[in-house]
Structures are given as structure tokens and as C-alpha cells.
Symmetry: D3
Subunit: 278 residues, 6 copies
């Protein structure tokens, strides 16, 4: 985790919610009392984002004490107490919503990633998210995928070469040629991923030396045939319209990775609350 | 829309995705060609976020031309072309993902808001979101709620006084007394909302002069009784566990507003793509 | 107080004054000695801004100890010691000017607000500032008004609807119609203020359902008549050319608020110095 | 003018005022009409800040046209039209307050600086501000002093060496020795100013080679004697408790500069309005 | 090139140099004349940074016209005119130093990269920089390496896994085991580089499945032996103490990449000036 | 040192290098162990940048302990241990490169400055850098010059008036006239430097009252003659094509300062490493 960046994101979120300050609590007698609040989860899931939630409080009151009794990535049952915050009531009530927004979203992502990773089983196909992350929160969402048991696709447009239909159309001519040309211009530290939009493209892209051949919108049967055809010459990624429902069908042996936009772009927040003990 | 803030959010999102740049397209012949791409929606919904998507392209290439043929807030059918971008291929491919992330998320929110607003009907109960927005994107998400036909709750902690169970517990003593004390300390430009956690609180909070009495986790039947009891002395907001499924049951005449966290905290992105004409 | 924002403002102010650093003190032997300095007020007034001044020192030297013996909002007599700073001489001399700039300005505003609040008396008309605050310092200036005993008008353009002559002219037609149309488009958390530029507008704006009718540039006599006319149907705010001199004349029973740009736009800094004990 | 910095300050000010946007005007029919508004000054003074006001509008709507018919630094009579803005009504009403806040403050400072500069006359003593500027606005306030006819003292703590009583006390020993030691450690591009807190210090500071001897809190008579004593060996600055009222008494021939905190720390905004032609 | 980031870096550089503005030119008659200046190179080299230099002027004066007659990456002879700027004299003189600082540094890096790339010859060993770039300028320095004909190593700590002696020591046990464990935890888009600090490590790291084996501080003879031993099972990178002088000795067939910190950490700026035609 | 600015630069550098985090170390067992690492210098030189390197670690892990046993500005021999860091292994490996980049660059500059300052000897000509600093790092580079024993030229374009050939050409007419005109427009706190591009300009610039006459591209013999001619009426700065090799020839008695771009624009980093004790 890059905490320099993480702090910047958290500060922006607090600032967005506070505006001129939590006027309600500032007007409430008792606001300066030191109190304790408990995070309680209302649904089964996977905990993720504890250290991020912690910073929401300590950035406002450095002396705030936040401790989670459940470890990041642990599975949690509805009704469980996850951890505690001890701070001024004003601090807790001011930062509560932002802390929960992060915690619920990150835990929601980790929960789905865990379900999929479990389905995939160990030592086999990995689950990865796509670049369909929430603008501004990619750091946290990619982290949540890892905590859940998933893996990360490239971090951004500069993390790997990824040639898709648009690139092939733009370059014109033979897609395999573009793969070869691009390979020559990237260094030994960078992977080249080439997207096969249809079965006929699999062989030429593989032969051209792509590190990864991405099978886009293939049926499970087409995937199976591509695995045989590639025969270990390239890693295989499968993507396109995969959901929790049809995921299992794509768990074809020989597939290295399944990438799913749904992991981050339509995440359901895990219901967690912060109960103030007064 | 505060475009100074909007631009800052968009720049951060582009920067997050670009890193050192779109290395794939930079290596693709034809990257400097001026091309046209078309936004196509794949699901029925409501369009929202066109001007935000537009900035994603013009911030990278000021000469990029972006035009939407469908107006913000219009309902769109699966398969419809929404608008066009004319710019360098490199610009379009570099900004595409970020532009779509905003457009899909905002249209997704507007779509749900529209469904609910329609159900509520004109001149009656309004639908509002809560502070459970995505950290850093509240500006865009609140906007999408309005475009969809919903209304906005307070913008942040400084937008209205909102006394909840925690404030009453913190202050100790009689909730009605806190309402009265706080009323005295806020100016004529600010509303005071008081949350009734159970039916017995409705009368004292109303009598104490709350502008809005928020009925939290009430059954529809309890809501009905509260409406009678309040009898126009305060505006009535209903919240707590309301979903698209049970929403209709809370459309009790006399209820001014129904607030739903689900409008923004678990939004499903509307599927929109950008097809490059080459 | 939103301390995330407050810190950003304070850092910018320190950075502006320091440039490449306090070259004078850096060249002075003894700069690393731990010394004590005392805030002394030179005029009668109201103290405001202590915690802001404190951050000026601790942001430069986290170990700096700053303590005020006088509470925020207390009245102070010329010659009184207000508090102490114990830190490296370099820290004190580097941050002194910025700390005093904030303290003097905030105390200056609080002092005027107190005089006016006292004149208005308890449980009656409140004094509020306008949006004529110093660009970049609104957070601190609005806070100072409250500390002085005043109240805050809307925080910014998004804090309340405020229909003025320009809006009525822009919309054309009947002002009352605009009030009604706008009321329908804002939620239950937001007040609608309508400005009456002349006595004839009072009745239609009130009847149209404005929460607040603002009497702009009315004579005290006109105010009195408007109070009778409105008869409790809307809150009444008075503004326009009100100064400390003519303020008392506008203290008409039934007026909820008097707003004065002069509270913040032409503030006289309270003279406070920081005396180094060496 | 450093426009990179100026833009950052202006953006922050707009953002502060807009929050989620100008909700009032956004709800007003006609908001997208292109209209013209005119800056009118209500008091006599000196115009300053036109280009800053201009950016307030063009940062929101790049196509906005702003033109001033009066030049920066020209004297303006109450009632004069200063210039025009042609833009969308929404743009004008959204940026109006911020633009006026800058324009009024800068013109207010320039007006006082002009009065003092005129009193001082040509080719003689100059008037300079101090570091008692508004935190965050020093760039604009120093500019306004120059436009008014004043001069700028050092820009910040890094702009010149300025040894005051605290530095002498801190170093211990002979002030003249500190002046000599510091002279040796600063380069040929930097001036060394030494503050004489009482008449006896004038000779040793001068003899030690200070470029400027600052006479702090001297009576006019003491200033006169110091001028004779220094006899051209150093430049002479006078400061401390000088106001518009007693300013003339300090216009002693041989005094190079009079510095006055009042120029910027208690400035009275010049009354300027923006009248919308509808 | 990520221009959102590039602009932020350029703005910071201009702001750093301008402070309160170019006071010298602001005081010079003729400052508002539109003039033309010509970039002239004083040494042989490779041009890099033209578009960056261009932004230095257009960020200050959007209407400034900057055109380079020599293309990025072209070799330039001492005395050649590279391009022209047409703008206000004030703009040119204000931005000149910053523009040249970027242009000279980027061209200096490209020049060295070109010399090395030429020595390496086509289709063989590539030259890459390391993370020893100038803090804050990595975007531009990596770009200059590419423009010169070099290639980029990973962009930052998140761009590839790179296991070095410290990681092996930290993990304890067998380095090959760490390589295997880490391979399992990174996705198919990420390369795993393992550093062999001595010849005995080459075989186990290769056998463990490193994508790249980095030979650190090997003699050319040791490199030759490692190439034979690895026999195509992994890509080979050579680093450690390689300079322009001994570079040729490391051009062993089979070596994929040679990485050199000297490319960026001790770069000699190429001498380029901007001559004003007056 | 302005630590508010310094922290901003350091944060940006850490953020640039970390991206999504140090993925290598995050995957290495033992990453959370508290370990000690030692800074070792590999070449003779002057230490500079210790406090900057320290912040690189403490900004990531506030509890990190960093201590230098060698003082800033001390001369260091190849092989010497300079100081220690005690922190989590993850912290040390994440921040190491950035810390060393700063330390090596600052020590490299201080080392050259020391060599030149020593050659110049005490109480005589000073060595100063120019504005050819690394964009974004001027604060640290100017500091390193001072720590090495050099002096600082003006900090930026606002630090002193500096009239060069371009200004004279722009103004047209007599250079001496421009010097006189500008003197009248700058305050007593600001120096006026005038550049003599050829011997004939020395007398008129001196007579016009320049505080400093800068002899640009003069031969040592021409410098000698100019010293005689100026005869103490102005300070003398020499610049233009001066390198460590020909520096001694310009040490003409009567020359106040020699400015050298090479001090900062082509600096060779001092080789320092951080060795982890495991």
C-alpha cells in the first residue's frame, strides 16, 4: 500500500464530507467526551479496509485509538464485532460515515473476490479485476481484490502492453505483425498481452510471441479449444461478460486468469455499522 | 455543477489510469490519426454524465470534439448511439476507460433514481440519496440523482443539522431539549432535522420545533400513524432499509421524502461502450 | 471546524511566507535554543483563532507547545497575556507572523460580532455575515463570527437557495412564480430565501412560500411594516447598507436576522503581539 | 504577476464559494442566456484587480468575454462603469461574488497606497507594505500596493535579511557584531536590514554595514536626528505605528521608505458592484 | 506521455522560478511587445523535450506560438536552430529558464541513450535506465531515454517484481524458494525479475522460473558463462557499475538488457540557448 | 529550510516511485521485521541531505528512527558509515531509493561547492549557483550549495532585479538609462544587478548606480581591468563559461562572486548506499 497516496485520498474524502465541519455534533453537549464505538458487521463477508478506516479517525484526531480484533482478509459472520474506536465523540461522529464508506466498499469487493477465488480453487485459474474501477479509488479497490484472494491485472495503462481490436484496426494489416513490432519496442520488464476477438486470431497472436493471449467473449467450448491450440506457448486470460453466475463454466484447465469488470464496477457494499457506546 | 471541482476530480482519474501514459497505443501505428468513436448504450436506462465524459477527452486534447445527440436525463434504449468523439486515436483510447467509468456510474445512478421517481409520481414524495456516496465522487453522484429525477439530501455534514440517536445519547437528557437548544444556535438559513428512532419520539421532536422529523426504520403502518400525529407541523422524511423492492409501501401520503443509501452505495453501472470507427 | 481543510489553509500561508525559509533567523546564533514567547493583546476585544495559531507552530515543529490561558470567545483587555508558545527560537520566529495574521484577523471579526450580538440582546434578532469573506479564508472567518456570538448565513452558493433581483429578472414573469417553481425542485433539507427589493414584493414572496423573506435596503420603517404584513408566515432577514452605526435602528421585533457584509469584508485586525522571553 | 500561482488562488476561491454549485441559478429559467453585466464603482478610488476578476469568469466559462474600459491603476469616480462581462447568466452569477471580493479588496489597497504615495510626492520617500498581508493573498495584495503607487517590502522571509530585536536578543552580545557576521554569510544579491529599536542603536548598526537601518517606533524628531547621523551610509526605513493620520510627520527628507502594516492588514474594500443588464 | 501529470510538473517548475513574478522584465519597457526567439544548440546531441518546453510558454500565455523545425529524437549539430517561440517578451523571458532547464536535461539524457543504443546496434541488447532518476522528473527522464533509443525498466516499485539480495536475506532460506512463492502470488501481467549477486545463484533462480535473471556486478566473462548456462530459459539483464567506458564489454550476445543508473543520475545537460531577436 | 515545502517535494517523490506500492517487498516474508540499515558512502565528499533522507522514511512510518553520526556539511571518506535507519523492512526498502536519490544529489552538489569554496579561500570571492537548478528541486539544491560552503544567488525571478542583454535590447536606448529607471521603481530591500556583456558597458552601468555589475563572459584580464575601473562603486559578479578547471583564473581580488551553472545543472551524484543488516 502506498500510504502517501492513500492519505491523500482519505483527506479528500473527509474534506468532501465535512465542508465547514460537522455542525450537528459541534452543537451537541458532550461532543468532547472520549467515547468508544464498535464496528459491527451485519452480513457475512470478508473484512477489508481496517487500516484505511483507522486513518479516517487519526487524521482528524491523532490521539484516536483504533484497533481491529479481526485481521484483514478474515471471513466475518453477521453480528460480529470487528474492532473499536476510542476518541472524542466529535471525532467519531465526524469521520464515521467516510470510514464506513471505505470499509463497506473494500469489504464488499473482498467478499466477492473471496467467493470467486474459492470457486476457482488453489493453484489454478486466478481471478483478476479490470480497469473498471471507481475513478480515484483504484488503489483501494485493487488492494481489496488481493485481500479477497484475487489478483491484480495491470495497474493502469502503463502497466503492461495490451493490444485490442482497436489497436489492430488502427495499425491496419496483420495483427500478428503489430504484436511482433510492439514486442521489439518494449523492454524485458513488460508483458505483451494480445486480445483475440475470435478463434481464428488465437494461432497468429500466439505464434507472434504474445506473452498473454486474451480470449475475449469466447464460449467455454471455444476457450477449451484455444487452450489446446496454444499448448503452453502463451499464458491464457479469459474475459468478456463473465459474471458470478457463469464463472464456473470458464474454469477450464489451462486458463491462467479470468478477468471480471463486475468485481469492482458494480460492487455491493458490505453492511457494517459503527455503534457508539454511551 | 462546480466545474473547478469537477475538473480536479477528472484530472485525478485520468492521472490514476494513465500513469506514465498509454504505452500500448503510443506504440501503435496510426495513433495520431483523427478518428471518430461512438458511445453506444447496451441496456435501457437514463443518460447522465455526458459533459463529464466530454472533459475526459478535452483535458487531454483540447481540440477533441465531443457531442451528445441525446440530452442529459433522457431515457435511452439498448443499442442507441448516444454521441460521438472526434479526436486523435491516442486521445480516444487513452481517455476511453475513464470517460466510460464516469458515464456508466452516473447513468446507473440516474437510471435507478428515475425508476423510483416515476413510482413516486409527481407532486408527492421525493426520493433522496444519503451520505453513502462514493468517497471523492459525491459531486457527480448527487448530480446524477437530480438528473434522474431524485432530490438531494444535505450535501455534507455542514449542509443541515441532523440530530440522530447518537447525538441524543451524547447530550443525555431529553431529545426534545436538544432540538430546542440547537434551534437556538443555528441561523435562519439552516434546517434542523431530528431523527425519531421509535414512534414515541415523534411527538416530542415535532413539538420541539424540528423542521423535519426523520422516521428511521419505521414500518409503513408506523409511518402512517406518524403522519397523522405530526399533522403538518414538520416535514416528514422516511429512511432505513428501504430498497427498490419495498419502496412502494413507504409512499404514504404526507411523507415528504424517502432517503435511500442504495441509490449511491451499491449502484450498478449502466453498460455503455465506445466504438471506434476505423 | 474541518481541520483537514484548516491545515491546508495554514500550510499554504506558511509556505507563502517562508519561501526558501527564514534566512535571517537561520543565520542567527541561538536559533536552536528552546524559548518561550507570550501572546499579548494591545486592544480590548474577543479572542478567536488560538487553535489556528497553534497549528502554525506545530506544523513546523511538532514538538512545539502552545497553550492559551484565555478561552476562545472570551473578552480580553488590552495588555493581557493570552497564552504561550514554547519551541525552538527558529520555529517561533518563522511562524510568528502567519500565526499573528490569523489570530488578529479572527479576533478582529469576533470582536465586532460580539459588539453587535450584545447590542441585539439575547433571544432576539441574530447577526450574520454575508459571502463577502476573504477569498480562501471563509472557514476561519465564519468560525470567528460564531465565536463572537454571531450566526452564519449559508456557507456558499450551495448552502441555501437565495433568489435575488437578478434571478427574478432572468426568469422573467412573476417573482412569486419562480419562488414556487424552485420550491418544487429543492428538497426538504434546503431553505428557500427570496429577496424583496421593494415593499410591494413582500406579500407575493411570502405567499409563494419562501422560508425566508429578505428585506433588502428597506428603511427601518419599511421593515416594521413588512414584519406586520408577513405576520409569522416566513422568517425575516434584513440586509443592505447596515453598519455598526445604524444597526440598532434595524433591531425591529420580529426580524430574525440582520446580515452585514462589513462583519468580514472590511475587518480591522485586533492588535496582538508575540513577545519573546530571552 | 505569476499567473500560475494566481490561477491556483482564484480556483481555490471559486471552489470555496461554489461547493456543489450555484443551486439557485441552476434552478432559474434563463440561466443559459448570454447576458452582459457592468462593473460599477460606488466610491472614489483606484482600480486594481481587473485581470484577476476576469479570470474568475473565464475559469468557469472559457468563452466569457471580460473587458475593462478603465486601466489598472487609474483613478475612478463613484458611479463610473469600469468594464463589462459577457457570458452565460449562470457563469456571471456564479463567479460574481468571488470576482468582486478580489476586485474590491485590491482596489481598496491600491486606493490607500495612492493617497499615501501622492502625499509623499515624487522622487522622495516611498511607501511600502509589511508582511501583515492576508494569508494566501499576498501575491495580489503586494501587486495592489504597486499598482497604487507604493513599493513592496521583501516578499517573504527569504527576500531579505531583516535583523530585529529578537534576533539581537537571541544572538546575545553586540548587535553590530551580528550584523557583521550575517553580512559575511549572505551573498551579494541580498540586502541586510537592521532594526534600531532605539536611537543609540543607529550608529553601531550603520557602522557595521547594514544596507538598510530600520527606525522602529521613532518619533519624527528622532527620525530627523538619525538621518543626520547616518548621513547617507545606509538607506533609512521608518516603521511602527504609522497611520494615514500621522504619516505626513514621518516624511522627513532622507528617509527612503515608510512601511505600514495598515496598508494591507485592515484594508477597507472599495465598493464595486456588478449590474446585470436584463 | 501523460500530459495531465506533465502539466502539473511544468506548473510547479514555473511557479518555483517565478515566485511573485519576473520583476525585472515587468519593469522593462517593451515587455508587452510580441517578439520571436530561437532555440540554438551549442553542442552536438539529440533533441528531446520540445513539447515540454512548448508548454512552459503556453501555460503562461496561451497564445504563444512555439514550433520546432527539428523532430524529437533527431540528431542535432552544434549551432543549429531548433525552433522558435513567438510571444510577448515578458512571457519569453519569464519562462525561458524553466523551458531550457527541461530541454537541456531531456536532450542530455537522449544524447547519451543514443550513443549507447548505437553502440549496441539493432536487434540485440537494449539499454535501460534504472530508478535512479531525478525525484519528481521520472516521467520526463524515462521519456528521454526512449526518445534517445533506449528502453525503460519498470516505471516504479509497482511495475514489476524485482527480488534482490535484501529480499532474499529478509525471507531467509533458499532464494529459489522465494522466487517460486512470489511467482504464485503475482498475476499473469507482471514479470518477476530475480537478481543473481554471484554466479552460483544463476542456475537456481533460472530453474525457479524467474522471467528475468539480473546479473549484478558480474564480469563480462561471468556474463558469458551465465548466458550459456541459462540457455534461453530466462531473459538476461546485466547491471552494476556499467559506464559508457566499459559498456561495450558487456554487449555479450544473449544479453537482453543492460541497465545503467548513469543514464539519468549524473546526466550532463546539453547546452541549448534561446536567442531573442530584437 | 521551509519544511512545509520540503515535505511536499518528498511526498511527491515517494508517490512517484511507489505507485501502487512496493509489490516486491510486500510479497516477501519478513517484511514486517524491524531491521537496521546503514548509509555507507563509496566516494570522498561532503554529506548533505540527511534530514531530507530522514523524512523519506518517517513519512512512510512515523516510528522509523533515523540518525546520522556525521553532521551536515562534514567531509566524508569513502567507506564511512554515515548513519542508520531502524524501521520495518518494508519501510526501508520502499523508501530507500528516493532517500538515496536526494542524499546522493545533495551531497554531490555540496561536494563540488566545497572544493570551489576551498579554492576561493576565506573572506574573499564567494561561489554561487545560478537558476539552472533541477525543476522542482531548487529548495534542496540551493541548500546543498550553502552546506557545501557556497552562497545563493537570487532564489527566483522575484529575488533581485537582474538586467541582461535582452532587457537592454527590449527597452532600446541606453542601458544605463534602464538601470536608472528600474532603480526608481524598486524598493530599498531589493538589489539591482546589471549585466555587462562587454567591457565598454562596465562604466555606464556602474555610474548608473547598479548595486552589482555582472561581468559576463569576460576574460580574467578583462575582469581585472573592470575591477580597477569600478573601484568599489559596485559589487562585482563574474559569470559565463566558468568551470572547475578555469575557476582559479577568475579569482581576481575585488571580485565579490563567481556564479556557475555547473554547480547544479550537471551535478554528479555522490555514491552512497544503504546496507541492510539482516
Amino acid at each position: 500500500m502506498n500510504w502517501v497516496l492513500a492519505e491523500r485520498i482519505i483527506r479528500a474524502a473527509l474534506d468532501e464530507d465535512l465542508g465547514y465541519g460537522d455542525i450537528t455534533t459541534e452543537l451537541t453537549p458532550g461532543r468532547d467526551k472520549i467515547v468508544t464505538a464498535t464496528f459491527i458487521v451485519k452480513q457475512d463477508g470478508v473484512l477489508c479496509g481496517g487500516p484505511v478506516a483507522e486513518r479516517c479517525f487519526t487524521l482528524i484526531e491523532p490521539a484516536a485509538e483504533v484497533s481491529f480484533s479481526i485481521a484483514e482478509g478474515d471471513e466475518i459472520k453477521a453480528g460480529t464485532a470487528l474492532g473499536k474506536v476510542r476518541a472524542k465523540a466529535l471525532t467519531i461522529l465526524s469521520a464515521e460515515r467516510v470510514a464506513l464508506n471505505f470499509l463497506q466498499r473494500m469489504s464488499g469487493i473482498a467478499t466477492v473476490a473471496r467467493r470467486l477465488a474459492r470457486q476457482a480453487g488453489p493453484n489454478s485459474t486466478i481471478v483478476v479485476e479490470t480497469r473498471k474501477t471507481t475513478p480515484g479509488l483504484r488503489l483501494f479497490e485493487k488492494h481489496a481484490v488481493r485481500v479477497g484472494g484475487g489478483y491484480n491485472h495491470r495497474m493502469g495503462l502503463d502497466g503492461a502492453v495490451m493490444l485490442k481490436d482497436n489497436h489492430f484496426a488502427l495499425a491496419g494489416g496483420d495483427p500478428a505483425e503489430l504484436v511482433r513490432a510492439v514486442r521489439d519496442r518494449v523492454s524485458h520488464t513488460m508483458k505483451v498481452i494480445a486480445e483475440a476477438g475470435r478463434p481464428e486470431m488465437v494461432e497468429p497472436l500466439t505464434a507472434a510471441g504474445a506473452d498473454v493471449v486474451l480470449l475475449d467473449n469466447f464460449t467455454p467450448e471455444q476457450v477449451r479449444r484455444a487452450v489446446e491450440q496454444i499448448a503452453g506457448r502463451a499464458l491464457i486470460e479469459v474475459s468478456g461478460g463473465i459474471t458470478e453466475e457463469n464463472f464456473a463454466k470458464y474454469l477450464v484447465p489451462g486458463v491462467e486468469a479470468i478477468s471480471m469488470g463486475a468485481l469492482t464496477h458494480s460492487v455491493k457494499a458490505l453492511d457494517i455499522s459503527l455503534e457508539l457506546g454511551l
